[in-house]
């Protein structure tokens, strides 16, 4: 579906999105776009509606007003799992790993969109099922290698330290070979080294797999470093959009952030 889109061309367009929960407005008339292959940051003070934005993009929330255009097609009420199949993967602000499963299984689950063996062949574990399992295991192993988490391959994720869990979650998202990868505060609560690692991984992902990345992050330093363009939200409204340079000199943004502590 995304194959037609050249790097630099528009991959996703958000048009006048408004979203509210029982009267509470989360997003008001937000519009912006994401170009193929770029790192697009969505920033803003707490409660600015950043996460809601991601939830709209991957179809978990359905805005009352506005349209989402993906790969040049207007989206009509697709379910999250269908959207995942269209090549949008994400990580979550508070880690949403499958606690009962090992690192390997978590990442394998992220691979579901690429597996299709029917129930019968899975039941007897012959033919397509086994082949496909092995094929995808190999791909997953490449991700494990990429994220340097070989040593925790078979550890239940529940036992892993926070930083590693974040990494596994990234791995799970990568396993889907996404066209567009949504990262919701991938570095929240990390120390300097961990943040450096994570930024390195994110940039490597972009260069290795040519993945388009939309990222929410509070650490301004990091965001300004790794992103090509930023959208700034405040109280559900867009108050800025442009390159790190432009954003730095954007009065509205500066005001919005005045007094707002960014960790």
């Amino acid at each position: 579906m995304a194959s037609g889109i050249e790097p630099g061309a528009e991959l996703l367009r958000i048009e006048n999105i408004s979203l509210s929960f029982g009267g509470v407005k989360a997003l008001t008339d937000v519009s912006f776009n994401i170009k193929r292959g770029e790192v697009r940051a969505i920033i803003g003070p707490n409660g600015a509606g950043k996460s809601s934005m991601l939830n709209v993009i991957n179809g978990f929330y359905h805005p009352q007003v506005g349209e989402v255009w993906y790969c040049g097609e207007k989206r009509k009420g697709a379910k999250p799992h269908q959207i995942a199949h269209q090549g949008i993967a994400r990580t979550f602000q508070n880690i949403a790993l499958f606690k009962g499963m090992s690192t390997l299984d978590n990442i394998m689950t992220g691979r579901s969109t690429h597996m299709a063996a029917n129930m019968l062949s899975q039941a007897i574990w012959r033919g397509t099922a086994e082949k496909e399992e092995i094929k995808n295991r190999r791909y997953v192993e490449e991700i494990i290698d990429f994220l340097e988490i070989q040593s925790i391959r078979k550890t239940p994720v529940g036992r892993l330290p926070y930083g590693l869990q974040k990494r596994v979650e990234l791995g799970r998202a990568l396993a889907a070979e996404p066209v567009l990868l949504l990262l919701d505060e991938p570095m929240a609560g990390m120390n300097v080294e961990e943040k450096e690692d994570m930024s390195r991984f994110i940039l490597d992902v972009q260069s290795e797999f040519g993945t388009t990345i939309a990222i929410i992050e509070h650490d301004m330093g990091v965001v300004m470093d790794i992103s090509d363009r930023l959208v700034v939200l405040d109280y559900g409204k867009k108050i800025g959009d442009g390159t790190p340079e432009e954003i730095r000199n954007n009065q509205a943004v500066i005001d919005a952030y005045l007094g707002v502590p960014h960790e």
Partner: protein, 358 residues
């Protein structure tokens, strides 16, 4: 302590993802199988068959089924009794309508029928969770039992309202009916159990199984990364019901021979099987076996002690049995929510790490 992993390394993914990666485990498994198939049949008598073996084998199948739904996919069901009934009545209707059909096929078909019914009652799970769903499954339990009670077609208008199994045989051996020998019935059920356990293992270690567990652990995240909740949940209901249906068919045709739906497949059955997987361990194949074995043996044990040794009246034995079972459930939920399977796992880890404590 007896484990020797050294030198046991894997050069292919096939070896790496096999069910028993450790050589010693593999051998243990083969030995158990050999004993079960080649040794036990020559030593069991009718008492052991009907008091211990058949119930164990059949409940193990049911437990596997429920464990797939509840343990792996996280959907609590109190409708097990009802689905067992479906299996039983399906097998009865099929046997009576197609007298020449091989009993093996009959049992499988009963499973298929039950799977269909299971999916039907699984539909609400798409909207509701936790014990809301549990309550919804009660609807299945009571409605189905009522149905088999009230609609004569199901029991071919038999006066008693009971259904009783006609004799069916394979390779000249009577499998069902009064002439079936203990070893034959045992082997017949054992075959199904081994077969289905193997299937359960395959399903739970593959894509489907992972999608079930994903739904169980964090359904929203699961859907967002591309797991289709509809397919996952309904498939879980289908597979689970299939297992339970087979169990029901065997329960009726091979074990009891004649049943009255109300008493054979009441709500207590639902709880019994649920208890089995709680005590055995949610989300564990081994747990299903352990739980079934445990809850089949404990009553037999208690009965033998209290009635046969101490010569107490049976009703007291029953009361105490209730207390013990109930107590055990609470105890397990408090002490080891992951059941016998977890205890087994811990013991194994100890041996793997031996002599190191951790």
């Amino acid at each position: 302590m007896f484990y020797r992993q050294a030198g046991d390394f894997k050069t292919t993914y096939r070896d790496d993802i096999q069910t028993f990666p450790l050589k010693q485990d593999r051998w243990g498994y083969y030995i158990v199988l050999a004993v079960a198939f080649l040794v036990v049949p020559f030593f069991i008598n009718d008492y052991w068959t009907s008091a211990v073996m058949l119930p164990f084998l059949i409940y193990a199948i049911a437990a596997l089924g429920l464990n797939i739904l509840t343990g792996y996919c996280g959907q609590v069901s109190l409708g097990t009794g009802g689905f067992l009934a479906v299996g039983a009545y399906a097998s009865y209707k099929i046997m009576t309508s197609f007298p020449d059909l091989n009993i093996f096929i009959v049992v499988l078909l009963s499973g298929v029928v039950t799977a269909a019914v299971g999916m039907l009652f699984g539909i609400p799970s798409l909207r509701i969770k936790g014990f809301y769903l549990a309550v919804a499954t009660l609807a299945a339990q009571f409605f189905l039992v009522w149905l088999f009670n009230k609609v004569p077609w199901f029991y071919n208008n038999s006066a008693s309202g009971q259904i009783s199994v006609p004799e069916r045989s394979m390779f000249g051996f009577a499998i069902t009916g009064p002439n079936a020998d203990a070893p034959v019935r045992y082997l017949f059920c054992l075959t199904f159990l081994v077969l289905l356990a193997w299937v359960a293992r395959n399903l739970t270690r593959g894509r489907l199984g992972r999608s079930w567990m994903a739904i169980r652990d964090m359904d929203i995240a699961a859907e967002i990364i591309g797991v289709n909740p509809l397919k996952s949940k309904l498939s879980a209901f289908a597979v689970s019901s299939f297992f339970i249906g087979v169990a029901g068919a065997l329960f009726f045709s091979v074990y009891l021979g004649a049943v009255e739906v109300g008493e054979a497949f009441g709500i207590t059955q639902s709880f019994l099987v649920l208890f089995m997987i709680i005590i055995g361990g949610l989300g564990s194949i081994f747990g299903s076996f352990a739980g079934a074995a445990f809850l089949v043996l404990v009553p037999v044990l208690l009965k033998n002690i209290m009635v046969n040794w101490l010569g107490w009246p049976t009703d007291i034995a029953v009361h105490i049995e209730f207390m013990v079972v109930g107590g055990l459930i609470v105890l397990f939920l408090i002490a080891e929510p992951h059941g016998l399977a977890q205890l087994w796992r811990l013991a194994k880890d100890k041996f793997l790490l031996w002599p190191f404590p951790h």
